[in-house]
């Protein structure tokens, strides 16, 4: 299994399978995170590569990683609560 959350310099890259996370949920999460991060979404078939670059400077690699993992948790929150 590939690493789903990878920190690269001042950004965090997420690999998301749209067979498991619905497209509208991914889009909604990206929209919400756009307020605090510069977000890039590269899609290749069912795989989304979402790159988050915080607008505020985040020096710590751990903090960047947490931003990525919180994004993944937020996807699940959106799925369960259907707040679309």
């Amino acid at each position: 299994m590939n690493d789903d959350v990878v920190v690269n310099e001042n950004r965090v890259e997420l690999t998301i399978n749209s067979d498991l996370y619905p497209e509208e949920v991914i889009d909604k999460a990206i929209e919400e995170y756009s307020e605090v991060c510069e977000v890039e979404d590269r899609k290749n078939e069912q795989i989304h590569k979402v790159i988050l670059k915080p607008k505020q400077v985040v020096d710590s690699k751990e903090d960047l990683e947490i931003i990525g993992y919180e994004f993944m948790n937020y996807l699940l929150y959106l799925i369960k609560n259907k707040v679309l």
Partner: protein
């Protein structure tokens, strides 16, 4: 037959990886089980929805190997828990639907009755053959077996009335 190891603790990464057969546990059940762990774990769902789904639970706080393993077993229990819920919900679907329909039906009937009473001309007053609804007067008490005190009060009252009427006539 080789049975895949469903739980793999990766202590150095502070996480545990759980392998799930999607033919046994559907995606909806996996979402529900994973949702329970959101507050203490970062949860990632990966794999192939046709063959094998992999759930990665990464602890937010440093956690021992035993606790990671325990979390994975609890996750398996949650899968069973939500599977039972889904099965029961499917079984009770018709009953639930009937109850809701009955409740809504009663409500609609009550609304119809209420709307029908808006026109006052249509209202039938209740019959009152005993005259219970009419106000009480001392004359009505005549002939009834009343307590002595009440009889005296009635007599005094009628005397006062008579004297008032006489005064008016004069």
């Amino acid at each position: 037959m080789d049975v895949p190891v469903p739980i793999n603790v990766e202590e150095e990464k502070n996480q545990v990886v759980v392998s799930i057969n999607p033919k046994i546990y559907p995606l909806e059940v996996i979402y529900s089980a994973a949702y329970v762990f959101l507050d203490k774990f970062y949860t990632i769902i990966d794999g192939d929805p046709e063959t094998e789904i992999i759930v990665k639970l990464k602890a937010k706080e440093p956690t021992s190997r035993e606790d990671l393993e325990k979390a994975a077993f609890e996750f398996q229990n949650e899968l069973v828990n939500y599977s039972v819920y889904v099965v029961q919900a499917a079984r009770n679907k018709d009953i639930r639907k009937a109850i809701v329909e009955a409740a809504l039906g009663t409500n609609l009937q009550a609304e119809d009755e209420y709307e029908g009473n808006d026109n006052e001309e249509d209202v039938d007053f209740i019959e009152d053959p005993e005259g219970i609804a009419e106000p009480w007067t001392p004359e009505k008490a005549e002939g009834l077996d009343l307590p002595e005190e009440l009889k005296e009060d009635i007599k005094e009252e009628s005397k006062i009335k008579e004297s008032e009427e006489n005064k008016k006539e004069e």
